[in-house]
């Protein structure tokens, strides 16, 4: 290999409780398209943040075109010719294309902007990309694909040598992906290097020259795409020992379907017909079992859970509880029909951080502890909280301790208790063990088993494959808003799940 354009070596980064990156090496050659791959949580995002100057590594060295560099801010990275295009665009929606391309670097004299030059320069860049964007079109009116082009144009205007694209195709239609690939190949022909982060392995095979795989914050392999296969890459991505702590439990006896979802569909934003959030999703969850929902980030699992729970609207399809169709338009409707949801973001969506444990726990179950329809019977409430403190082993100083001061695991138990107190028929748990330590994870798993044993249909969404494999009786995989397969736990392996999650549901397949 020739002298690499970028060489990151020995990169380590630690966050409280997590070793996000551990001695990672990453090299990108000039004029190549390089895929950076890994499961959710493998460390890709952290590596990209370090490369874009948004975060600093604890250890390690970054060499760009032969010269060691330190980047302490995104501005440094841009100055050195590294541009990052995030999944969430960083455009100012109410400003024009030209203003966005040259934001902060407007051509002109003194405080005055030379609009004519800015327009001409913008046109020169969009022409180079073969785009027909008007310099003074307002960004908000553009499609997602066009907005992405504006991001690329901005990167080019900064004389970038290396463009990082984080999941660039996730919001694009097939035709738009083709167009993007053409542009990316053009950029490569002009000598730029591109780092391509994607979950779609077939795209890696189609467009990338080389790949690097991370797993659990470590470098596990790199090579030429032409010399490997999708299976080979999947093996690298998941090939870890199954954690001994995530022991399988005995087979559950599944009963009747408590929840059936038929043909649930939800379109995305009106401006963007291609963005389908949920596409004809059907599945059922049976009493006494844990249904695992596997998929990569953005596969539509959370969106489906929120639609079932009435937190987001859906366009078509129906939901049946215990065989009867139910009309769910709000979380209140869902709760009335015995459906609970433990949302994925504990602090933003579930907890009242300024309140104590007691009101947090009882919030959804006030009906159980009312006297005279209006007053909360505090004695009954304390008994209820005490009951769940014992059965869930919640560690707290008192029932009035502010919930913000509990550990993540105990916070999650408070949220689970909130729903148990409601005695649901169906409980959907979205990333139930995210951000909690391993001991608490095992406790949460045991709780889910107990809920299933007590006859609740549990639907568990998790981005950690070992967790899905350990806790589920059945596993449904999703990708791009569609169900791509169903598999019994005994037949499931990480490799098979990864294949279903990354390749399933393709129109050709």
């Amino acid at each position: 290999m020739t002298e690499p354009l970028l060489r990151m070596s020995g990169i380590s980064k630690r966050f409280p409780g997590v070793q996000a990156l551990d001695d990672v090496t990453f090299e990108v050659a000039p004029g190549e398209i390089h895929a950076l791959l890994g499961e959710n949580g493998a460390g890709k995002s952290t590596l990209l943040k370090i490369l874009s100057g948004a975060q600093q590594p604890d250890e390690g060295e970054i060499v760009l075109a032969g010269a060691p560099v330190t980047m302490t801010s995104p501005h440094d990275a841009q100055r050195l010719g590294v541009a990052t295009i995030y999944q969430e665009f960083t455009l100012a929606p109410n400003m024009s294309v030209a203003e966005n391309v040259f934001i902060g670097r407007e051509p002109g004299a003194g405080p005055f902007v030379n609009w004519r030059k800015m327009a001409a320069d913008t046109r020169a860049i969009t022409d180079r990309l073969g785009l027909g964007l008007k310099p003074f079109a307002v960004v908000r009116d553009l499609s997602v694909a066009e907005q992405q082009m504006v991001e690329i144009a901005r990167a080019l205007s900064m004389q970038s040598r290396l463009i990082v694209m984080d999941e660039p195709t996730s919001a694009l239609s097939a035709a738009e992906v083709e167009k993007l690939f053409r542009i990316v190949r053009d950029l490569k022909a002009q000598g730029l290097s591109i780092i391509f982060v994607t979950h779609r392995l077939e795209e890696v095979m189609e467009i990338c020259d080389r790949y690097t795989v991370l797993r659990d914050g470590r470098f596990v392999g790199a090579g030429r795409v032409a010399e490997t296969t999708i299976d080979g890459i999947i093996r690298l991505m998941v090939g870890r020992q199954v954690d001994a702590l995530f022991a399988h439990r005995e087979e559950a006896k599944a009963g009747e379907a408590a929840l059936r979802v038929e043909g649930l569909s939800r379109r995305g934003k009106a401006q963007d017909q291609n963005a389908t959030v949920l596409d004809n999703v059907s599945l059922e969850a049976r009493r006494g079992e844990i249904l695992g929902l596997a998929g990569l980030v953005g596969a539509g699992r959370t969106e489906m859970a929120r639609a079932i729970f009435g937190a987001d609207p859906f366009d078509s399809g129906r939901i049946l509880v215990d065989g009867k169709p139910v009309d769910i338009r709000s979380p209140q409707d869902a709760i009335r029909h015995g459906i609970g949801l433990v949302p994925e973001d504990r602090k933003q969506q579930a907890l009242f951080l300024s309140l104590g444990v007691r009101p947090n726990l009882s919030m959804a179950a006030h009906d159980r502890i009312l006297t005279g329809k209006v007053f909360i019977d505090e004695a009954a409430e304390r008994r209820m909280v005490e009951e769940y403190r014992k059965s869930l082993n919640i560690r707290m100083a008192s029932q009035d301790q502010v919930v913000a001061n509990l550990s993540g695991g105990n916070q999650q138990k408070v949220v689970l208790a909130r729903w148990l107190a409601l005695r649901p028929r169906v409980l959907i748990v979205d990333e139930p063990t995210r951000g909690i330590d391993i001991g608490a994870k095992v406790e949460v798993h045991n709780l889910l088993y107990e809920m299933a044993r007590s006859g609740i249909a549990v639907v568990a969404i998790s981005s950690e494959l070992p967790e899905v494999l350990a806790i589920s009786d059945r596993i449904v995989t999703m990708r791009e808003g569609r169900v791509t397969g169903e598999i019994a736990r005994k037949d499931a392996t990480e490799e098979r799940l990864m294949t279903m999650m990354t390749l399933g549901g393709k129109k050709a397949a």
Binding site: F309, A311, P331, Q332, A334, I335, L341, P343, Q348, Q349, A350, L351, F352, L353, S354, L355, P359, M363, A364, H366, L370, V374, F375, I376, E378, N393, R395, M396, A397, S398, Q401, A404, N405, L406, S407, G409, N410, R418, D437, I438, G439, A440, V442, E443, N446
Partner: protein
């Protein structure tokens, strides 16, 4: 899995001296302030003066009780001074026997009036209607409370000026005036009304399901929605409650002054919001108590009274109040940021 259970230790609970001070800071400040005024001006501690202070703060206090509900949901109501003026004029006109009789003065006019019960009811009805309208605008059209009530501030003031059609409406029947100027034993009636409603509001917030919902919606609206609460209904309801207290305050104020005028209540929103915030209610919602609001209200009343007794000019009084508001919020933010990093 008993082994796993020992891995995670209970979160340690340390005595937090600054946290405790923060919680009782308004009360401490009030005591210190009263002691200082008592030393500087012996008249200050006389029962007559203290009841006088309480009578003066009663209307502010009623409004502050309502405002506590609003601010607990992370909302704000700037319209209360205007709504109070309008409701006060309506109550006055009802007591006088209708719009056409509203400027009648002198003997015999009482016979034409509808009496204080209907007048009080009218004031409260106007307040509730005004609050309801604003609550609907906030929840249905998703206009921020600041903007809606800024608009309401102008609309209700305009309505009051239109309704007054000239000068103040004065000279009510004695039964009406008793609600503002009367006493039960040594205690002024407005003080009794204020304390009674403060206790009631405390019970609602502390012991009812609705009270829980107010805190929950203010603390985390998304979590409240996902817990099955009707967030829109809770939010619109606090503006109705605020409106009720504006109407009640209007009735008491007009009775105390034996007069209603269109320019009543100007600037009340600032004093009232200041009382609530000084009492420890967070403008970000979810944190606060009626007890704190009562302390905050009395604190401002004592401060103003003491400054008057000490012959401090009203201009300087305004400056002092403003500085104290900013300091109170700064202290609150400081206490919170400490908690977050702890």
């Amino acid at each position: 899995m008993s082994e796993a259970k020992t891995i995670e230790a209970a979160a340690p609970v340390k005595a937090d001296p600054i946290g405790i001070v923060a919680r009782f800071a308004p009360l401490l400040f009030l005591v210190v302030l009263m002691a200082a005024f008592a030393v500087g001006e012996p008249r200050f501690l006389s029962p007559l003066n203290l009841f006088n202070v309480m009578r003066q703060v009663s209307v502010y206090g009623l409004l502050a009780v309502g405002m506590t509900f609003v601010i607990l949901t992370a909302g704000i109501d700037l319209s209360i001074g205007s709504l109070l003026a309008f409701a006060g004029l309506v109550a006055a006109a009802v007591d006088k026997g209708g719009i056409s009789n509203r400027f009648n003065v002198g003997a015999g006019q009482e016979a034409l009036g509808y009496g204080w019960p209907l007048a009080a009811l009218a004031a409260v009805a106007v307040g509730i209607a005004g609050g309801w309208l604003q609550g609907q605008a906030i929840t249905r059209f998703k206009v921020p409370p600041f903007v809606v009530t800024l608009g309401g501030m102008s609309v209700f003031r305009g309505a009051a000026l239109l309704f007054a059609g000239g000068g103040p409406i004065s000279g009510f029947d004695p039964a009406y005036v008793w609600w503002g100027q009367g006493k039960i034993g040594p205690v002024p009636v407005p003080v009794i009304i204020f304390v009674a409603f403060a206790v009631l509001a405390h019970i609602v917030l502390r012991y009812t399901r609705y009270g829980r919902q107010v805190y929950a919606v203010g603390g985390n609206p998304e979590a409240a929605r996902l817990s099955g609460l009707n967030v829109r209904r809770v939010i619109s309801s606090v503006y109705v409650i605020m409106g009720f207290f504006a109407g009640l305050g209007a009735f008491v104020l007009s009775a105390r002054l034996n007069s209603s005028e269109a320019v009543a209540g100007i600037g009340y929103e600032l004093t009232v919001i200041a009382s609530v915030v000084i009492g420890g209610t967070s403008l970000f919602g979810g944190v606060g108590t009626i007890f704190g609001t009562v302390i905050g209200t009395v604190l401002i009343g004592v401060l103003l009274n003491g400054l008057v007794l000490m012959d401090v000019s009203s201009y300087i009084q305004q400056i002092i109040i403003g500085v104290i508001i900013v300091l109170a919020v700064a202290f609150d933010t400081f206490a919170k940021s400490r908690k977050r990093t702890a």
